[in-house]
Symmetry: C2
DNA sequence: TATTATAAGTGTTATTTTTACACTCAAAAT
DNA sequence: ATTTTGAGTGTAAAAATAACACTTATAATA
């Protein structure tokens, strides 16, 4: 018995995860088929309850790992949903997180346990509760954030071509970008480095691989400059 | 007994409010003296627990009104703090909200009940738990948001002079702004209207009052344009 | 009533950033 | 040898931003 127990009520607190991936030029979302009532069998975000002995960040990482097998990936709190009737079974407050993962690293076996499937963004089915609203909010956040911070790279393999990253930005912002302007600006920021290796998959000529240079980015930030990319 | 009760644990969920005001050219914060253990007598954000029968937004409005007497003011969810040990008495998950109020409308009598006082931003005392971190986060959010949305007006009286709003922006962003450029840009957005009335308080000559024109702003947004102010 | 003091108000130019736009190159496949 | 395909590259116009200083209206004062 502690100080607050006499006086105040407790609530269920859950986590829901919006998991973004990028594949075949499309931004995608990892959804699961809900295995328990209410709404059993419906498409849903991955989620789970926050235990009384874990922080909400820890809970979010635990739940993400359970579905994807991934531990150290980009995961950021999005928003907390606290309407009374949002979960049809009981009063549950849900803290939504969004994750950006490199789709190649995703552990399919684990996903299948939950009936998980990747959906292209323009193909998201109706989801349980307020999950569609969560997705929309996450998407808006992703759009804004990729302008101001170099988090897009989280969705790509370590080595990527300029064409790939342009396609990623086009998918996120859903609009075509001028190739020359894009490259000029991205390279001028000096946070990606060209490797000596070429990708020969997608063209005969081959395209240079680049990688994100975290050190240079950190220096840039320390100097008070900012990544700004629109 | 409902579906989730057998299996999952509940947690205390609280609200904490970062309440901004603007007075005498300074951005200010409304803080209270904590009236109960733990940390009784220390400076703190206004807060309270979320009941099992109210939404978190409702709880935030209720708590804000209790301190300020104000109902329909700008109030937005900031971030949810969920570390295990953040409250020294028990495990409490706290959803932080920030409010922007016109300091003249604030009900002082009600504030005094809670031992409330306004603090200039560069004069914030050490606060209980993680409240100083909440304040910093709210400030960063306010800075970003005032660039992208016309929420600064929430901190001003309905009628304000161009000098006042410039002082507000200077206080928020903590840097001087060129007077001519500021006016040119703000007026060119066409979301404030000049009144026929002058403020004679702060100068002999008098300065025209302006008011924010929500209708024009809404039209601007509908047309796909955006308020962008740096 | 003339002078002074104070904040309000106002335009132009240089610099920087953003946008628009089309051809050559390298290499594999035929 | 020719064709096909995506990779790679520069310049000029337009727009946005930044820098900068004097005049005006009025109340207070001499």
């Amino acid at each position: 018995m502690t100080l607050y127990n006499q006086v105040h009520e407790k609530n269920f607190v859950a986590i829901d995860s919006i998991i973004f991936g990028f594949d075949q030029g499309k931004l995608k979302l990892l959804l699961i088929k809900r295995k328990m009532p209410p709404m059993e069998g419906h498409w849903s975000l991955m989620g789970g309850f926050v235990g009384s002995g874990e922080s909400i960040d820890d809970a979010a990482y635990r739940i993400l790992e359970e579905l994807t097998g991934l531990k150290s990936v980009f995961l950021e709190q999005l928003y907390t949903y606290g309407d009374l009737k949002r979960d049809s079974a009981d009063r549950v407050i849900s803290v939504a997180y969004y994750a950006l993962i490199n789709i190649n690293n995703y552990d399919q076996a684990q996903g299948l346990n939950h009936g998980a499937r990747w959906f292209a963004l323009d193909d998201i089915p109706p989801l349980v509760f307020d999950h569609n609203a969560m997705v929309m909010k996450a998407l808006r956040r992703l759009r804004r954030k990729t302008i101001v911070q170099p988090i897009g790279f989280e969705l790509l393999p370590e080595k990527f071509t300029l064409t790939k990253i342009q396609q990623l930005y086009e998918a996120i912002h859903q609009q075509p970008i001028d190739k020359r302007n894009f490259r000029k600006k991205l390279l001028s920021m000096g946070v990606i480095t060209r490797l000596d290796e070429k990708d020969k998959e997608s063209s005969k000529r081959g395209a240079f691989y680049y990688k994100f240079d975290k050190k240079k980015y950190d220096t840039l930030v320390e100097e008070g400059n900012s990544f700004e990319f629109k």
